[in-house]
């Protein structure tokens, strides 16, 4: 292959080179004058000279960060039908704050009174059961950090021309949270699963009454009835008072505002598993029940909308990688459009089917560059190039776009989205 060992890539610095010696000469810390005087210097900031603001019952981000928002894209005739994108390019770490978790609603966010909401488990069970929220809160719970990604995330990648949107506003229909709830197996077993049951039709209590079929095996494996998101009760837009979380499987299956699980022997063939979330191939046949989200990665910085101020300069290339099939084992970065690749550092913890943060210091010499990241997961699956993905699936699949994403760095330090060489 074309891969060359990291030491041959002079642009990517080894970690050791970033040690004190390299930067010490250029850093100067501010020193207050009049250090012997008892009088306070006039240039102490205001916020040190008067008492600060009040306590708050529920904290909000700094007013200086108000531009960090979900980008909403909805149908003007039906404003509850659309999406909002997580600003991945503005975030660090791996946990998506609850107010910035991506949204996909089919007909708005329902205002559900938890005292009136129940979950019904019926169909091919020994005894149909209903559960109210109070009762569910008494069940044993587990916590799990995992990503949820819309099957339609990054779908602009299928277009002929690269979309010039910021990283999160083209690829941010994916978010990562710690979900806490009840292993679904417990509730299904309480109802008693009949041997003929193979599928479960999940239905939401929104104004689309969204329904979709899920293989029973997944619900018995690692699915959760989530009640908490990053430690607090679910946000309304994320399914309050309860939702499904199916680690690694496409977002549409993680049904929000869950009201019913009906066990059946066949899928229901609902709109969202036939006309949507199926991938049309060039031969006219469509892939159906493509549940798992394959490995993907995205450089969040530097990325479109930013610029590189220093030429030459040292920049921390960083981003996120995730796979619906397991842990991320490797992320490689290229600055020459995929000719050569260097391993990035994976930041702990590297969790199964969760965001993994990667980074690599990069010494930009002011040359034209194309930055790319390529993820590998523990099954050995390697994130494909756009060329390979299209060769495999054609251009009309719409869903499950996970090709390598390329940022062009111009000699002026501007950043554009391109489709690689």
């Amino acid at each position: 292959m074309k891969d060359s060992p990291p030491q041959s890539r002079r642009q990517f610095l080894k970690k050791a080179a970033l040690g004190g010696g390299a930067l010490a000469g250029t850093v100067s810390l501010p020193v207050w004058a009049n250090s012997e005087s008892l009088e306070f210097p006039d240039d102490l900031p205001d916020w040190m000279r008067k008492p600060g603001g009040d306590f708050s019952n529920y904290g909000q981000p700094s007013p200086h960060e108000q531009q960090i928002i979900r980008w909403i894209s909805a149908n003007p005739d039906a404003p509850g039908n659309g999406v909002s994108w997580t600003p991945l390019h503005d975030l660090q770490g791996t946990i998506t704050p609850n107010g910035l978790h991506y949204e996909r609603h089919h007909n708005g966010v329902p205002d559900i009174d938890p005292a009136q909401h129940i979950l019904l488990i019926d169909g091919l069970v020994d005894k149909p059961l209903s559960f109210d929220v109070k009762s569910l809160l008494r069940y044993p719970m587990i916590s799990r950090t995992c990503f949820i990604e819309c099957g339609g995330n990054s779908n602009s990648g299928w277009r002929s021309n690269p979309i010039q949107s910021q990283a999160g506003y083209a690829h941010g229909l994916v978010s990562n949270a710690e979900w806490t709830g009840i292993p679904l197996k417990i509730l299904l077993q309480e109802a008693g699963i009949k041997p003929t049951a193979k599928w479960v039709i999940a239905e939401g209590a929104d104004a689309a009454a969204l329904n979709i079929s899920i293989p029973l095996d997944k619900l018995l494996d690692d699915a959760m009835l989530a009640l908490y998101q990053n430690g607090e009760r679910l946000r309304p837009e994320n399914g309050y008072p309860m939702r499904l979380v199916l680690p690694g499987w496409e977002g549409i299956l993680n049904v929000k505002w869950l009201r019913q699980l009906r066990l059946t022997d066949q899928p229901v063939m609902s709109r969202d598993e036939t006309s949507q979330y199926t991938e049309l191939q060039p031969d006219g046949k469509a892939r159906q029940f493509t549940f798992v989200m394959d490995a993907k990665s995205l450089i969040t910085s530097p990325s479109l909308g930013m610029m590189l101020p220093d030429n030459p300069g040292i920049y921390q290339v960083t981003g996120l990688a995730w796979s619906g099939r397991g842990k991320i084992t490797r992320v490689e970065i290229s600055d020459d459009g995929g000719e050569n690749w260097v391993d990035a550092e994976l930041h702990a913890p590297v969790l199964d089917r969760a965001f993994t943060r990667f980074s690599l210091p990069w010494h930009w010499q002011g040359d034209y560059a194309i930055l790319q990241s390529r993820a590998t997961d523990e099954t050995g699956y390697i994130q494909p190039s756009r060329e390979d993905l299209i060769a495999q699936r054609g251009k009309h699949g719409f869903f499950h776009y996970n090709a390598i994403i390329s940022w062009e760095i111009t000699e002026e330090g501007d950043i554009n989205h391109v489709y690689g060489f």
Binding site: N75, S130, I186, L210, N211, V268, S275, Q288, T290, H396
Partner: protein, 178 residues
């Protein structure tokens, strides 16, 4: 109390505790829901066999009138799309360079149409249509591409009999393929 009787009462208490808590260390709190499970509002999903379809009937001509009042503002006066998706036409385009996925060109089952319209349309008033109106709208859309004839009445028996043009257009990936 003697030591022996103390021990016995402890064992009794322990047995009682174990009975209450089964062996999974939690208390099953589900409420029997046999009756609830029979009610219409908990039987919204319509499978291709159509067994949960409600009684009702409708024709394309009736559907056309309902469409112009309740659907055209989003799907366009002809149903070929506006702010919402096109519903018919484009049958046979799936292998072309510009495939169009309409109900009639792409959807594999007519029962899905009933299921989806009833639970979510019109988008500003879901669950406002009668069963007859939903059957009529299904008939109107399907008739646009002659999937059913204009004089066909759709009802709980005839709807599942409709064969959609793209019935065999899907390859199931789960669980065996990647």
């Amino acid at each position: 109390m003697s030591t022996v009787s103390k021990l016995l009462s402890h064992i009794l208490l322990l047995l009682l505790f174990m009975t209450c808590h089964a062996d999974d260390h939690y208390q099953p709190l589900g409420t029997p829901a046999n009756q609830l499970s029979q009610q219409a509002q908990w039987n919204l999903s319509i499978s291709p066999d159509g067994k949960d379809l409600p009684t009702g009937k409708g024709t394309a001509a009736q559907g056309a009138k309902i469409f112009s009042v309740k659907c055209a503002s989003c799907h366009g006066p002809e149903g070929i799309g506006a702010s919402a998706d096109p519903l018919h036409g484009e049958v046979g385009t799936l292998t072309s360079d510009y495939p169009e996925k309409t109900v009639n060109s792409y959807w594999p089952y007519a029962t899905t149409l009933f299921d989806y319209i009833r639970r979510s349309m019109p988008i500003n008033a879901p669950f406002s249509l009668t069963a007859d109106e939903v059957y009529a709208l299904c008939a109107y859309i399907l008739n646009q591409d002659d999937i059913i004839a204009a004089d066909i009445e759709l009802n709980e028996d005839s709807l599942p009999q409709v064969t959609m043009p793209n019935r065999n257009g899907f390859i199931v990936i789960y669980p065996d393929k990647k």
